[in-house]
């Protein structure tokens, strides 16, 4: 018996059945282009988002490895760096320009391309129709456009790396005047133009996607699927889409003004500027702070755009694998709603030290710390969901538990930073780096991994390799803490972020050894992500085949579809829904799918 035969022995019969159905459903011929490239099937678009997101995650992660190399080994030279980067690493040492370009692109790419497009682009597309019981999105064509605008944004962003004056290097927040004046920084020349074009395309992409998600969730739920029977994933993705639709246009308007300031001589953000070597600029009367208000009006909701989908998926995965209903379903929706509303009212906590009116600042302190309440509710509800459950440690479940751990750790430091009187000390130090990487970066990555491990069988009809999944999890969570936990201490020493070299600073040079340690761990963690990627692509083609329709014994609708659903998802009628998604362990029954009618003798909860 060959290995292949061992792995797939039981699967053939079921697979044949599924294929049989598939052929009945689809008589029209699909070409390679219409199936894999310009596909209008939400599942294929989800995969496109996912794989493009993975590409960016590797590139963005690699960038962080490169700049960590500089931070960890500021005196060393690596001749191979010059081979790769050419003039950006003369003599094997990354130049300050290249360092800042790497930091900036890493931030932009990870926040927008990976954790926005890669995360909600993937799972909103994949899960919304399957979990609400729809055959596709409200507008499959717009959905396709959404991906291709993202693709175009990616192309433009990549091309900016190859510009002679270098990619944009003023930080992912792109504060003017630095981002507005090519004379102040070479990265603000052509590189910034391309950065903004790319971001504009990206905004279009996320608006097309977001409108579609909202329309689909509101209008296309199957019979019986009332809003209060939706799985929490859908609620989370719905709030995410609302946040995006309301806030991205504001960012866009900020960019438009910046384009005018850069190219057409306006003074929205510019005033009283004298550039050494150039002289005084004519612009007067603008406000550099205005941009920050516009930017953070998106920028803060953006944090929740990244975090909410992860929260939703984690809620679902924790419940499924604890074999227990999610605790406080309505409270979970309520807290997500509260987070979504508050997300719009806290943006200025990024601006406590800009000279903001102190009274205004105090209002933002209050509203910011208010967010801790719904966050606390969510954490305690997750913990209670685990309590007295019967936990199966699938790799998806492990990442979900890891998410909760990271969300607690990073969320608590938000209470420090949200309090302006502490922020005045900790602002823009490594404390902030530690905070947002743990709570938003790594935690959301964990949410994404949890989602990938959990829904991979639905996406590709095969399993990911479990052992590699476990290695991936344990190394990543240990590594994440080893990298970011000590950064709190650097922050408490006042060590500023975005520094190329600390050795000239009497106040910050004591961390050289720690920086080297962090860089080393970062490289190991990065290597382990490559192991995950290998597992992903290998398993698409060679993974163990899924032989049962509902491998996790889950209640939600996607598991009532065929193992490899075609375009249209269900063969024949769309299933009808009779209950909420979380009847696990009710009345002694292991699980009761949403499609099961409520029995006469069933208990009420």
């Amino acid at each position: 018996m060959s290995n292949e035969a061992v792995l797939h022995a039981h699967s053939d019969a079921a697979a044949h059945d599924a294929h049989g159905d598939h052929h009945h459903e689809h008589h029209h011929h699909e070409t390679f282009i219409s199936k894999y490239v310009f596909s209008q099937d939400h599942k294929m678009i989800a995969k496109q988002f996912l794989i493009t997101g993975m590409f960016w995650a590797v590139l963005g992660g690699l960038m962080s490895v490169l700049f960590r190399l500089q931070l960890g080994y500021p005196d060393a030279t690596f001749p191979w760096l010059e081979d790769i980067l050419g003039k950006w690493a003369k003599g094997g040492r990354i130049t300050p320009e290249a360092y800042y370009a790497l930091v900036t692109t890493h931030g932009t790419v990870l926040v927008f391309f990976v954790l926005t497009a890669g995360l909600s682009g993937t799972f909103a597309n994949f899960l919304i129709p399957l979990q609400i019981g729809a055959r596709d999105m409200a507008s499959p064509f717009m959905n396709m456009l959404s991906y291709w605008f993202f693709f175009a944004a990616s192309i433009v962003m990549i091309s900016s790396i190859f510009v002679e004056t270098g990619p944009f290097s003023g930080g992912w927040t792109a504060y003017p005047p630095l981002s507005a004046l090519g004379d102040a920084s070479p990265g603000s020349k052509t590189g910034m133009d391309l950065w903004m074009i790319s971001m504009a395309l990206f905004v279009v992409s996320s608006l097309l996607g977001g409108l579609n998600y909202i329309a689909t969730v509101l209008n296309m739920r199957t019979k019986g699927m009332s809003m209060t029977r939706l799985p929490l994933t859908i609620w989370a993705l719905f709030f995410t889409a609302v946040l995006g639709v309301l806030s991205f246009p504001v960012l866009f308007s900020g960019f438009i003004l910046l384009i005018f300031d850069r190219n057409f001589g306006t003074s929205f953000y510019l005033s009283d500027i004298f550039i050494s070597g150039v002289g005084a600029l004519p612009n007067e009367g603008g406000s550099a702070i205005l941009y920050q208000h516009l930017f953070w009006f998106l920028g803060h909701p953006e944090v929740y755009i990244i975090l909410l989908p992860a929260m939703g998926m984690v809620s679902e995965i924790l419940s499924v694998n604890s074999r227990k209903p999610i605790f406080g379903y309505m409270a979970m929706i309520g807290s997500m709603f509260a987070i979504a509303v508050l997300a719009f009212l806290v943006w200025a906590h990024h601006m406590f030290v800009t000279g903001l009116n102190p009274f205004l600042g105090s209002i933002f302190v209050l509203l910011t710390l208010l967010i801790a309440v719904p966050s606390a509710i969510k954490v305690f509800n997750w913990l209670t969901t685990l309590w007295r459950g019967n936990i199966r440690f699938t790799p998806g479940m492990m990442f979900a538990i890891g998410f909760v751990s990271l969300f607690i750790s990073g969320g608590l430091t938000g209470i420090w930073l949200g309090n302006s009187a502490l922020d005045i000390h900790l602002h823009d130090t490594y404390f902030v780096i530690a905070h947002f990487h743990i709570v938003m970066g790594v935690a959301s990555m964990f949410g994404m991994f949890a989602g990938i491990y959990h829904w991979f069988p639905k996406m590709y009809g095969r399993y990911l390799n479990n052992s590699m999944g476990y290695i991936h999890f344990w190394v990543t969570i240990a590594g994440a803490y080893l990298i970011f936990w000590p950064m709190h201490y650097e922050g408490l020493a006042g060590m500023p972020r975005r520094y190329y070299d600390y050795s000239i600073w009497e106040s910050f040079k004591q961390f050289a050894e720690l920086n080297r340690f962090i860089s080393t761990v970062a490289m190991i963690v990065f290597a382990v992500q490559l192991l995950f990627l290998f597992n992903f692509f290998y398993s698409i083609f060679k993974g163990r085949k899924v032989t049962v329709q509902n491998p996790w014994n889950a209640n939600t609708l996607e598991w009532t579809a065929p193992i490899r659903p075609g375009h249209g998802n269900w063969v024949g009628e769309i299933p009808e829904v009779h209950r909420w998604a979380y009847d696990y362990g009710k009345d002694g029954k292991e699980f009761i799918p949403q499609t099961t009618p409520v029995g006469a003798d069933e208990s009420h909860h």
Binding site: F393, I408, L422, S467, G494, E506
Partner: protein, 351 residues
């Protein structure tokens, strides 16, 4: 060569992991998926507790290694900064307790409630009392933190005491310029289009304004121990940030929009050298807002002196008006001045 070797080793490790992972998958299929799943479950459940214990030890060890290198190891260098520190300790206590409690619950539950054939799941979809409890308690605790925070915030951002001295700080790529108002206690007006580095007018001061004539411009900030100082902060080109980590203060320098900040230095530089046991100690101003490729090198120095030392230092400074306009400097016009002096004595003698 080493590079290829490293890559080869990494690839080898990958292959080994992959082979093991693949093999374990075959074994699990042959052994029966249920059996191997339960085995994996036991291992991972155990590792959850191991991770919790090692993690807590790691937290302690990290603190042991690095606490001494943070600013908390020595007293705050400003009177107001001490409030930041005490608030920081309170916040640490609150969040620390929550951190330890919730992490223990999370990993302990994961271990304790791992799959077992004997356990019957507790169907527990909601409980209003519990939910109200963990809505109200965080709300109360946060209210306390907000009250403490805002009291400090309004102190920090409020008006400085009347006796405060005033220093103007201007950031530019990539250094700091400081201006003292001189004896008249007022700064001369400035306009950015007058900036001319070559002729000693880096700030664009209007020399027509008489108030500017005694303004002193320096490349280092000198402060007095125990005397509050108000900083008037501006920028010449892009946004910078006056980061004063030892004083626990920070404020952006924005072109076109002046900002302010005040604090009271508590220790002279000399005293800080003793406190930190670092003979090279200096108060550094770090630029804390990305300002271009030289951002990391944008350092300013603050020296805190006693009042007498400060008076001596101040007396030695020459007003920038005289530096920029050497023809107006009496020292440069010595012969003429000497003549006038002689003439004056004559007049006195005659009388």
């Amino acid at each position: 060569m080493t590079m290829f070797l490293t890559i080869a080793v990494i690839v080898l490790i990958f292959v080994v992991i992959f082979q093991i992972a693949k093999a374990s998958e075959y074994v699990s299929v042959l052994k029966g998926e249920d059996v191997s799943r339960k085995q994996n479950n036991k291992i991972n459940g155990f590792l959850m507790v191991v991770f919790l214990v090692l993690g807590m030890i790691g937290v302690w060890y990290c603190n042991k290694l690095y606490f001494g290198k943070t600013l908390l190891a020595v007293d705050s260098a400003s009177v107001e900064g001490a409030r930041v520190d005490s608030m920081l300790w309170i916040t640490l206590a609150v969040t620390g307790i929550v951190f330890i409690a919730t992490q223990i619950l999370l990993f302990w539950f994961a271990y304790k409630y791992q799959e077992s054939d004997k356990r019957k799941v507790f169907y527990f979809p909601h409980d209003n009392r519990l939910e109200v409890l963990w809505t109200i308690i965080p709300a109360i605790v946060l209210t306390i933190l907000v009250v403490i925070g805002l009291r400090n915030w309004f102190l920090f951002t409020g008006e400085p005491p009347k006796e405060a001295m005033v220093v103007e700080v201007t950031g530019k790529q990539f250094n700091w310029i400081f201006r003292y108002p001189g004896k008249d206690g007022a700064f001369g007006k400035k306009y950015y289009k007058n900036i001319d580095d070559a002729s000693g007018n880096a700030l664009g001061v209007l020399w027509d304004d008489k108030l500017s004539h005694d303004d002193i411009v320096t490349d280092k900030m000198v402060l007095v121990k125990g005397r509050p100082v108000k900083l008037i902060i501006g920028a010449r080109d892009v946004i910078h940030d006056v980061g004063l980590s030892h004083f626990r203060m920070k404020m952006d320098a924005v072109p076109g929009i002046p900002t302010t900040m005040w604090f009271t230095p508590k220790y002279t530089t000399k005293e800080m050298k003793e406190l930190t046991k670092n003979p090279d100690f200096v108060y550094e101003i770090s630029c804390d807002q990305m300002c271009g490729n030289g951002h990391y090198s944008m350092k300013g120095i603050i020296e805190v002196l006693d009042q007498e030392e400060y008076d001596i230092w101040l007396a030695k400074q020459k007003p920038q008006y005289l530096v920029a306009n050497p023809d107006k400097d009496p020292e440069n016009a010595k012969p003429a001045a000497a003549d006038t002096a002689k003439a004056a004595t004559k007049v006195v003698a005659k009388l």
